[in-house]
Assembly symmetry: C2
């Protein structure tokens, strides 16, 4: 299959490479031409515009940062839309606002082009190891065409509904991820302030009902005081805005989601938006007065 790939960042590059290894003919477009080098070195074709890439592809995959980036790549002058042709399938694997995903799909449909929203979970490690979770929204026909590609990228492939359902599922996932991370930050800062080693408390909790991948991953970074850029606060802030807009539209109250949003906002205000999400614990520690555990002699 001729695949056109747009968005060769930490996630996109290893994904594109997996598709090449699976035997597909890969074309690519990047705003920064040097981003194409690792792909063209192994036989991929560079294109000058998303439109030219689309014209020469059966499937275009976009893996960019945010809603405006997808909008531009698809609909700006020389965008994917200018290369629309019958049979083209566009798969957006970025995390964007569900209403935008629905609107983009409708515009492409008017040009005879099918679209899937297919955001992922698993992070850079999941992309590198082809172990992503992929949650796709769109027609069953489009999903079946995309399935072999998804199977080269991930181990858990889901068709969750019509256009937009993939992004709604991702929003729910990010809400849970962020609230869990906030819970880990609150629990470990409480442990530390109460005089019990947070690393040990994390180890105990990993064996209890409170255990989670977030406790393992972000709790590990909090306990080790590792705040250097990993999966940065900045990206989660974007996701939280998507969650809040969706919750407002649906009339769902998300008090714990609001709690973590307030703490993420504090991190941004303090210039820590490029740190890892584990930095959530710093916000909580700022107010802690400490609690001296009475000792045997008291």
């Amino acid at each position: 299959m001729r695949i056109g790939f747009i968005g060769l960042g930490t996630m996109g590059l290893p994904m594109a490479q997996h598709l090449m290894r699976a035997g597909h003919s890969l074309g690519a477009y990047a705003r920064r031409a040097e981003a194409l080098a690792p792909l063209t070195a192994t036989g991929a074709t560079a294109f000058a515009t998303p439109g030219e890439l689309a014209a020469a592809s059966d499937v275009v995959i976009t893996m960019v940062t945010a809603t405006p980036d997808v909008d531009q790549v698809l609909f700006a002058s020389r965008g994917v839309m200018t290369g629309a042709h019958r049979g083209l399938l566009v798969i957006d694997m970025s995390t964007i606002a569900p209403p935008a995903a629905i609107a983009f799909a409708a515009r492409l449909r008017d040009a005879g082009v099918a679209m899937l929203d297919a955001p992922v979970s698993g992070g850079p490690a999941g992309a590198r190891d082809a172990k992503l979770t992929i949650m796709a929204g769109g027609s069953a026909d489009a999903f079946e065409r995309a399935r072999p590609l998804f199977e080269s990228l991930g181990t858990n492939i889901f068709h969750v509904g019509d256009n937009g359902a993939g992004q709604i599922t991702k929003a729910c996932h990010q809400l849970l991820l962020l609230v869990t991370a906030e819970g880990v930050a609150e629990a470990l800062s409480l442990a530390g302030a109460a005089g019990v080693d947070p690393g040990l408390v994390r180890q105990v909790m990993m064996t209890g009902i409170a255990s989670s991948r977030v406790l393992d991953l972000f709790g590990g970074r909090m306990a080790a005081r590792q705040f250097e850029p990993g999966i940065s606060v900045r990206l989660y802030r974007k996701d939280l805005q998507i969650v809040r807009d969706l919750a407002t539209s649906a009339g769902v109250s998300t008090p714990a989601g609001e709690g973590v949003a307030a703490n993420v906002q504090k991190l941004v205000s303090e210039g820590l938006e490029r740190e890892d999400l584990a930095a959530l614990i710093k916000v909580l520690e700022q107010t802690a007065t400490g609690y001296r555990l009475p000792t045997s002699g008291d």
Copy 2:
């Protein structure tokens, strides 16, 4: 070893039975004599008061509901304290307030009796299968004496610090468990209100970074609408009060913890305190207006 067991509820009874199977001589006390029947039928000795039980035991284990229950069993007239003798070890495996655990240990120490606070995680299934997590606070000497007993009850045994540290660790664990449950309730109610099947979204999230034991257990009950008594809201409400008091003492802000506390309080106000914690999702659904996912034809 001669073990005296007090508190033969859903957790305590299978724990006492595991200790008998491990070859220990078991005595027991219960306010309701009929609670003793399953144990005396297999050779345990019934005692009329906690004091008489303590006088005849090397180790007394208490597994009751809350701080006042432990206070009464230990220090009321005919309580464990009246049977205090050199070499007696008291292990409280209930979940109670850390300052109370510290105070109780100090009173027993004055009578020459060692104490451990050793609350657990794992619920009724963990107690039944002897797979509990046990987090113990107290002297290293007391912990080493208790270790063989703990190994008959659980698979993850931790000595986390001095008296009170076990209860502090449990409070952190319950905070994380409850915040995670709130996150699951928020994510699944958002999915439902936005028109994507909550059961499917849970299945997707179980494969992503947001996955957790809470999503598996309570998320499964939420998706299946199973709210009959399991681990009831009432017990978690008690634990939340312990968490809030500790957080206040330590000056740690727990915004997500406050969010779930408010929702638990709503469940109690609505008379749902005997339902399973999965009922958290009902509070959130009350305000949801629903969000109609635009369809292909829109």
